[in-house]
């Protein structure tokens, strides 16, 4: 009963696991993103590193005040990443054409690593393109942070009991509520280095800019393909790896990478019991056969011993019989001889009598 229950439970888990992956591996189906999903195009060649986007982000997301004010541009001299108090940061890089600036925040992947690896489904890829996080489900395992290829999610390490994962939401809530029409960083940007719009349109815009100014731009829209595509897109005059964007990530999304190992799970659950049960049954059968063979051997040995003993007995009996017969014969012979001798003696005595 227990076993059946357990196996049933496991089977159910296996099935949900397969369904949960949207059976990508099996069907060859690909997810090209929500058709009307929005995104942001960041043009590094327009960015002047004023950090106004950082300030706006801090304000609209009600994040704690920074250690150094946002108008302190010396901050740009050291490379920074997003953290629990900053959903976005601008970094300065020494480019071939002079200083280059790059804003970084959650890239809102089309197939987000964080969402696919979260074991409580705390992340959601929304139809508007944003990836949002629900702190009310989060256990705090931080696998999302491990899995994110862009090193974006940050953690409230100093909160002992209710720490949250912190990351850019593309101002999803504020836009839903109508408080904002575009993410805070986009609205504030004085140089229009950020454009908010449908991802499809943004790719066109980006291509158009490259086409019109081929010497100004790298001929690549970063995020169009990277890690399966992101809703935040980048244009740059410098090589992307020189402004802190890895070029070696590949175009395969994390859900695609993990679908292989995931697909094996229900197979193991389905086949192992039969396989192991089979091994057990074979061993049991082997033991049984061995036992039977042993029994048969013992029986045969016993019979043989018995037969041998009987034969020996018969032989002995036979010998005894013969001995007895011989003894009788001997006795008879002796008796006869004695009788003959006695007769002779008698005859001789008679002769003597007659002679006398």
């Amino acid at each position: 009963m227990k076993r059946r229950q357990f196996l049933g439970l496991l089977g159910a888990a296996g099935i949900t696991a397969t369904l949960g992956t949207e059976a990508q591996a099996a069907s060859g189906h690909t997810f090209d993103g929500y058709p009307n999903a929005k995104g942001v195009l960041f043009d590094s060649t327009r960015c002047i590193g004023c950090r106004k986007c950082e300030a706006a982000c801090n304000k609209v997301n009600k994040l704690p005040a920074p250690a150094k004010p946002f108008d302190d541009l010396k901050v740009l001299d050291t490379e920074r990443r997003t953290d629990a108090k900053a959903y976005t940061v601008v970094n300065k890089y020494a480019g071939k054409k002079g200083p280059a600036f790059r804003k970084i925040q959650c890239n809102h992947c089309m197939e987000p690593a964080c969402a696919s690896v979260c074991f409580v489904r705390a992340f959601t890829k929304n139809p508007d393109g944003s990836v949002t996080y629900d702190a009310s489900l989060c256990v705090g395992c931080r696998y999302c942070m491990v899995a994110c290829p862009f090193n974006i999610p940050a953690y409230e390490y100093n909160n002992p009991l209710t720490p949250r994962v912190m990351k850019c939401t593309m101002c999803h809530d504020q836009i839903q509520k109508g408080e904002l029409s575009a993410p805070g960083c986009v609205t504030i940007c004085p140089k229009e280095a950020l454009v908010y719009g449908k991802r499809k349109d943004l790719i066109e815009v980006a291509r158009e800019r490259i086409k019109r100014n081929p010497e100004r731009y790298q001929d690549h829209v970063y995020g169009e393909q990277e890690m399966g595509g992101t809703n935040w897109l980048y244009l740059s005059g410098e090589k992307f790896k020189d402004i802190g964007l890895r070029e070696d990530l590949g175009n395969v999304s994390v859900p695609t990478m993990t679908s292989g190992p995931l697909s094996v799970v229900p197979m193991v659950a389905a086949l192992w019991p039969a396989l192991l049960g089979g091994v057990w049954a074979m061993n049991k059968r082997k033991d049984k056969v061995a036992e039977e063979e042993q029994k048969a051997a013992v029986k045969a040995a016993k019979a043989e011993v018995k037969a041998e003993a009987a034969a020996k007995l018969a032989k002995e009996l036979d010998k005894a019989e013969k001995d007895k017969a011989q003894a009788i014969e001997r006795e008879v012979k002796r008796a006869l001889e004695e009788a003959a001798a006695a007769q002779k003696e008698e005859a001789a005595a008679k002769k003597d009598e007659e002679g006398a």
Partner: protein, 387 residues
């Protein structure tokens, strides 16, 4: 050695245990009042430290003795290993219980640990798979272990009912172990961009599963060696008589499974054509792991079992256990974030190490308590020949 000697509680072992436990309790208070940031060196780039590498990855791998021993005895028909089953099940049960215990320190909101199973299952996550299997397997191990406790408590009826489940539990235990041992490796399949190519492989799941077999077998040998002296008086004739056979048999098994693991390791390098990396510093480190702690112990085990050299086998078991720990650390810490500058790399804080030692100490203490009382190294006189 044991506390019930009535002489004194202040034996050297008990004093050291007490110190470790006291330090651990202090760090525990700090962890839950000041947060992870205060006690650990974790940061946004390095979200997983030694509490994952050692307490989870190594803990689970080294507790593999449970499923390997019980399947050898009950499924593969090697009944001469029967006396090794109970110690192995006990170690596995304690190992997994401690894994779960240690996770309460590492996750941000430990009170939500049941969420993935009961509230919001994230079935696309390999961590969900690990969580579900570990949860079920701890339950299985608890049931598998319970007859020893029932015999000790004199609960005959329960004991006899549970022992009838042995076969089903063993099969289920192997299914669960296959799944979560491999899934622990598969956790890292998601991050090819962060792990050095020599340690990253799409085969990580298979590598972790295959290596768990020699890890488990070696732990049984290693632990048997450690337990033999202090609890010699607790061991019955069967246990002592079978002991050498267990060591020789397990050494053969470990030798073969290490050889298989070595082959999978090579395939993993060949699959992505990563041979060129072998000529780098990372390559030297990789070769040290693969030659020094996989190929070498495989050979030493073979020699040891052939020449019936028990001493060599025992040392080899320690070498293998160390090698498995080295591998798990390499994947999850050393080769993880290898491309980051050294200033952004992770090294554990003393308090993280303190908690790991604390967790091991708790385990050893509970182990000592149990083997000094319950029928682990001997058969309970009332149940002789009951199997």
């Amino acid at each position: 050695m044991t506390t019930e000697n009535n002489k004194t509680l202040f034996t050297p072992v008990n004093i050291i245990t007490g110190i470790f436990l006291a330090i651990g309790l202090v760090i525990t208070v700090l962890r839950f009042t000041k947060g992870l940031g205060y006690v650990t060196n974790l940061d946004d780039n390095n979200p997983w430290g030694i509490w994952i590498s050692f307490d989870l990855l190594c803990g689970v791998a080294l507790a593999a003795g449970g499923y390997t021993t019980s399947s050898a005895c009950y499924l593969f028909g090697l009944k001469k290993y029967h006396s090794a089953v109970r110690p192995a099940i006990l170690t596995a049960f304690l190992g997994y219980a401690l894994v779960v215990f240690a996770l309460h320190y590492d996750v941000g909101r430990p009170y939500r640990l049941p969420y993935p199973i009961f509230v919001s299952p994230g079935t696309t996550s390999l961590l969900y798979e690990v969580g579900l299997c570990v949860f079920l397997y701890v339950t299985v191990l608890a049931i598998e272990f319970s007859p020893a406790a029932f015999e000790w408590l004199g609960m005959k009826k329960l004991r006899n009912t549970v022992t009838k489940l042995t076969l089903a539990l063993t099969v289920f235990g192997v299914v669960l172990s296959t799944l979560h041992q491999s899934s622990l490796g598969a956790l890292y399949v998601a991050v090819p961009s962060k792990i050095h190519p020599l340690w990253y492989s799409p085969y990580l799941a298979i590598l972790f599963f295959v290596s768990s077999i020699p890890a488990g077998l070696s732990m049984v040998i290693f632990e048997g060696t450690l337990a033999h002296k202090p609890w010699h008086h607790m061991m019955d004739k069967t246990h002592l008589d079978e002991h050498e056979g267990v060591i020789l048999g397990f050494a053969r098994g470990a030798s073969i499974s290490l050889a298989a693991y070595f082959c999978v390791k090579l395939v993993a390098v060949a699959y992505d054509n990563n041979w060129a990396y072998l000529a780098t510093g990372w390559g030297a480190w990789y070769l040290l792991e693969v030659l020094g702690f996989v190929a070498l112990p495989s050979m030493l085990y073979a020699i040891g079992s052939r020449e019936k050299n028990i001493k060599l086998i025992k040392w080899t078991s320690a070498l293998t256990v160390f090698g498995i720990i080295l591998n798990r650390f390499n994947v999850s810490i050393v080769a993880f974030n290898w491309q980051l500058p050294s200033s952004q790399r992770y090294f554990p804080s003393w308090m993280e190490i303190g908690i790991s030692i604390f967790v091991v100490t708790v385990g050893v203490t509970v182990y000592r308590f149990i083997v000094s009382r319950m029928p682990i190294f001997f058969e309970h006189p009332e149940y002789k020949d009951a199997h």
